[in-house]
Symmetry: C2
Subunit: 267 residues, 2 copies
Amino acid sequence: MTHTDNPCFETSVNLLNDPQNQRVWSIIISLFGDMAQQPKDQISGGALTRVITPLGIKPEAIRVALHRLRKDGWIESVRSGRASVHYLTEFGRTQCAAVTPRIYAREPGAPQSWHLLIAAETCGQAALDEALLLPGYIAVNRTTALGFGPKPGKTQDLLALDADNLTLPNWFKTQLFPADLSNSCAALLKAVNAIPDPAPDLNSAQVATLRTLIVHRWRRVVLRHPDLPANFHPAGWVGEACQRRVFSLLDQLPRPVLADLCETPEI
Amino acid sequence: MTHTDNPCFETSVNLLNDPQNQRVWSIIISLFGDMAQQPKDQISGGALTRVITPLGIKPEAIRVALHRLRKDGWIESVRSGRASVHYLTEFGRTQCAAVTPRIYAREPGAPQSWHLLIAAETCGQAALDEALLLPGYIAVNRTTALGFGPKPGKTQDLLALDADNLTLPNWFKTQLFPADLSNSCAALLKAVNAIPDPAPDLNSAQVATLRTLIVHRWRRVVLRHPDLPANFHPAGWVGEACQRRVFSLLDQLPRPVLADLCETPEI
């Protein structure tokens, strides 16, 4: 196993890995989303194993996760000679594409315009719940949604207005950025700050392992909160520092060419 | 009783009077608020009787109401020779002065700027309830207050923002102007439109009776809703037409000089 004979690599994996909280299918999606999101992209079973087993995940667990991902319609697998190759279904690609802009955004949301939709206790709740299913809406409380941009033309049974000059109380900030999210984010910042700058002699699989781990951890922080400007952040929120370090590391770990990754190494 | 020998006067009183819904103490306050709100103003017992008995109210009921108003601190009464005179206490004058601008406003509220204060279900409720006790705040629902003018500097635990370009749903309009208020207002409009223009030969007491009735009915409509521009009114709201006719009638019934009113007529 020559490709793990690298103490910097092992240190980085240990710092980034979170075995308590490891869903193998979710890690596989992070990997496909990062490296094989285009229609013709595919990853061989061998490459998957090389990228994911360094996290302490057994090949059997990978097989189980792939089975689940096929059953749920995310992934398809085909035989190619004696090997297997795996790729995202159209459904899987659509799901990944929906969150890719958010995961890979390098800047926190700029200050922008806002509107509010407000229901009565006894009227307009259905219209409000419908609005809250749309992207660009944040629940303030049971009867109020804050929306990005100016108020839409049709607002059904809702009191609607353009909002300006917002003063944000602490309860709203910690509702958007709850303590467990802040803790996850602080833990990730600690990890990404502690790992050494990537060595230039990492092979393609090692680069893919580190990218997958970083993207996976960041995805689980960034997708749990809406993209909001700094005045929405609670005191002590380190998301911006975390984001800077995540992208500084990813820039030092350029995406391997899939063909290189999937070539069976001579071991 | 020469002063009721006027068929136009009697018709007007019958149209404006609402014996089902007649609180004598409240009518007396309408009279004092309209005609004797200044510190040295006073109304004799005889004048009170002459103004109020045409409404079908017995002198005994006037005595009971005055007793209650003294007990509650609104009115004081003193002897003056064989007669009695009555006047508003400082408390009574303050209470009247607080609502006089609203009752006597001749124009509906102009469009103006607005702000919102929003509480969470579990946070900020006390601050919101406090704001709703202030003039210039309207409850939207249990967690939201709409305030006149720009957002205040300090808003405690509340999400605060300047609101613009409001779209108002029907539930909010009928919450502000409920059906029974709309009905009262429509009934008053019908009455004020039906009464003949005041005859020039009315005596001071008759003028005072009609003014008191008109102000009393209008007060009970106008103080039950906030002063809001037309886009807040539900379909069919006739408050503006009512207001125009009320002030057109009051302009034709100029306030009698108190000394004339209180002079005992030779009967």
